[in-house]
């Protein structure tokens, strides 16, 4: 079975690194970057299954703008938004722009895995469903 291909975007390096390590340890192929611009570059190169995107990032491009661009380049890529600031308006805006769902920081790994499983399942292909099931098993184990 092919590992699901995930991109995590967050400006908080410690968070990004640790989360990537934890996902990789669970056999989830994970790339990571710290800004919206870099995320766009990576998305252009690779067709990720799911992008986990922090809404609030410094610099020119925040999560919402990045989401808009990602959806333009790869409409099939599912996006899960992360936010440390529970602004319902921003989250709703993200949902309207095509984000799959949002999670409130600090996140528990099992919550993220559950959302990833759901997002993969939604993609509909047999391969994705298998990936989704595998992740669900991980959730149960946690």
């Amino acid at each position: 079975m092919q590992e699901p291909n995930i991109l995590v975007v967050d400006d908080e390096g410690d968070f990004l690194e640790t989360l990537m390590n934890r996902l990789k340890k669970r056999k989830i192929a994970t790339a990571g970057c710290g800004s919206g611009e870099e995320a766009l570059r990576l998305v252009k190169e690779t067709a990720f299954d799911v992008v986990v995107l922090d809404i609030k990032m410094p610099g020119g491009m925040d999560g919402i703008q990045a989401l808009r661009e990602i959806k333009k380049i790869r409409p099939d890529t599912e996006v899960i938004l992360l936010t440390g600031h529970a602004s319902i308006e921003t989250s709703m805006e993200g949902m309207q722009l095509g984000a799959y769902d949002y999670l409130l920081k600090p996140i528990k790994l099992e919550d993220l895995l559950e959302k990833l499983a759901q997002a993969l399942e939604r993609k509909g292909t047999a391969a994705h469903r298998a990936q989704s099931d595998a992740i669900r098993k991980l959730v149960k184990k946690e």
Binding site: E12, D14, R22, G84, L109
Partner: protein, 553 residues
């Protein structure tokens, strides 16, 4: 302090108003009364003077008439005829028929010897040579005597005329009836207490006054005070009664005709007016004092109320400002805290992951590490909850507008907590007004508020107690009261209960955000949340919501 200030203000206003009102009122009263009294006194004096003058004329006329008749009788008959007492008697009869008031008539020769006499007294043969009037009449020709006793030993006065017949001088003398004369004089008196009498220039009464003194006694007035003109003056008697006198000297005789009037009785009308004036002013003053005190009290009371209301509003504004600022801060703080929390949580997760690896499984401290990591995760979770509550508040800034059935919301909330309460032997009683209108609001938020309040009440009681939830409505607002019979909230803490992070619950049990959020929610709905409590007498929270009609659909 404020109370004394207002009390002072009240009295200042009262005193000032009274001074400003009374001064012109009293001044006006005094001036008008004085003017009126002066006019009235003038009028009475004038009246008495007029009476004295006219009465003097009448008395003068009486005396002149009598003198003229006597003269005419003397001139028409000879001494020889006149000494015939029958003729003399007839003369007296004619004189009384035509003029009256003659008592007797006598004929006296130049030696003072009475030659003939007709009258009631036995005076025949008396000699008048030594009488003072005899000399007067012999020298002047006509004489009116002062009142004297004479041979008859009764007060009387006479009119005498001298007749020169060839070489012979004789006198015709008549006595005037003192009663008739006195009556003519007394007709001049005014009113019930007024008097009229004649006084000789020596100050001896010539007629009997109506009330005090008798004929030939000293008169109550000093005739030397009266000049040629009719004059009036005022005199205070020994009994302190004021008497007005007016006197006119007669022309026919050096007698003073005096008219007197008692000031008090003559002025009775004036005094009645004065008393009425005093009564009206008195009543006016009472009315003014009462009105001034009443209106000032009302005004000051209004002022106090307004100030109290303003203070309350100020306090509410400050509280609202504080909470709004805290709301903004909460959102920022939440973000700043959530990011490190997210890192910590991932790091502990990673630690956990590593501990599961083979090399660590054998480590003697693995259990200890695992337990520590779990503890860290637990406390991150606690911090996360606090922040989420704060964010929850921030998120709840904009309530939705739906139809709210307040009673239903209360019942739903009580249902949720009933089991928990029963486990602690706490009875939740509801007393809901059936007439509550449906209002526009956010039912979920209202439920959260009620939930917070009832939950707090349960926590406050601990075990064994009663919580009452009541709803009621008037024309403009709905009130929900959640009351418990728990230990109550000390006064010092009452101001802080709505502040964020203020809690009396043990660490980890309460975040101290429940009342803060509830307060904010109710404020957002246009209402207010208030606390009434006394130590050891329970606490009651009152939610007041404006009745906002739902938009018609």
């Amino acid at each position: 302090m404020t109370r004394t200030l207002y009390s002072k203000l009240q009295w200042k206003i009262v005193v000032l108003t009274l001074i400003v009102t009374f001064t012109p009122l009293l001044l006006l009263g005094v001036v008008i009364y004085r003017q009126f009294a002066q006019m009235y006194t003038e009028k009475i004096k004038e009246q008495i003077r007029f009476r004295a003058e006219s009465r003097a004329d009448a008395v003068d006329l009486f005396l002149t008439e009598r003198t003229a008749i006597l003269g005419a009788i003397a001139d028409t008959d000879s001494l020889r005829d006149m000494t015939d007492e029958a003729i003399l008697s007839r003369k007296l009869a004619v004189m009384n028929l035509r003029a009256g008031a003659f008592v007797d008539l006598g004929v006296i020769d130049r030696n003072g010897q009475q030659l003939a006499y007709v009258g009631p007294y036995d005076l025949k043969g008396k000699n008048y040579f030594d009488q003072p009037w005899f000399e007067q009449v012999m020298s002047k020709g006509v004489y009116i005597s002062d009142v004297y006793l004479g041979f008859r030993k009764l007060p009387h006065f006479i009119i005498a005329v001298r007749r020169q017949e060839q070489q012979e001088n004789w006198i015709l003398r008549a006595t005037i009836d003192p009663d008739i004369f006195a009556r003519i004089v007394q007709v001049g008196h005014i009113g019930k207490t007024g008097d009229a009498f004649l006084v000789s220039k020596e100050g001896v009464l010539q007629t009997k006054p109506r009330f005090s003194g008798g004929i030939l006694q000293q008169a109550p007035v000093n005739p030397t005070l009266f000049g040629k003109q009719t004059m009036g003056y005022e005199q205070t008697g020994s009994d302190r009664r004021q008497t007005l006198f007016a006197g006119t000297w007669l022309k026919a005789k050096d007698w003073l005709l005096v008219i007197s009037g008692d000031v008090e009785s003559d002025m009775a009308e004036l005094f009645a007016t004065r008393n009425m004036q005093i009564l009206i002013i008195g009543l006016g003053i009472i009315a003014i004092v009462a009105t001034t005190v009443f209106t000032t009290r009302m005004m000051v009371k209004q002022l106090v109320q307004t100030e109290t209301r303003m203070r309350e509003m100020d306090a509410q504004l400050i509280q609202a400002d504080k909470l709004a600022a805290l709301g903004k801060m909460a959102a920022g703080v939440a973000h700043e805290i959530n990011n490190p929390l997210a890192v910590i949580l991932q790091k502990t997760g990673w630690l956990q992951d590593l501990l599961d690896e083979e090399e660590f499984r054998k480590s003697p401290n693995r259990e200890e590490f695992g337990a520590s990591v779990k503890k860290i995760e637990e406390h991150v979770e606690r911090a996360r909850k606090v922040v989420h509550n704060m964010l929850g508040y921030a998120r709840r800034m904009e309530p939705r507008l739906e139809d709210v059935d307040v009673n239903r919301t209360i019942n739903q909330t009580v249902d949720i907590l009933e089991n928990y309460a029963r486990n602690n032997n706490i009875d939740i009683q509801t007393d809901l007004s059936p007439n509550l209108p449906i209002i526009a609001g956010d039912p979920a938020q209202l439920q959260q508020v009620i939930l917070n309040l009832v939950n707090n009440a349960i926590d406050a009681i601990g075990r064994d107690g009663t919580i009452s939830v009541k709803s009621m409505a008037d024309t403009s607002q709905i009130r929900i009261v959640v009351a418990d019979d728990g230990p109550g909230i000390p006064e010092a803490m009452q101001k802080k209960v709505f502040d964020p992070f203020f809690t009396t619950k043990s660490t980890g049990k309460g975040t101290g955000l429940g009342l803060w959020i509830s307060y904010s929610i109710v404020e957002k709905m246009g209402g207010s949340l208030a606390l009434q409590s006394r130590e050891n007498q329970g606490a009651a929270f009152t939610i007041t919501l404006p009745i906002v009609q739902p938009a018609s659909k």
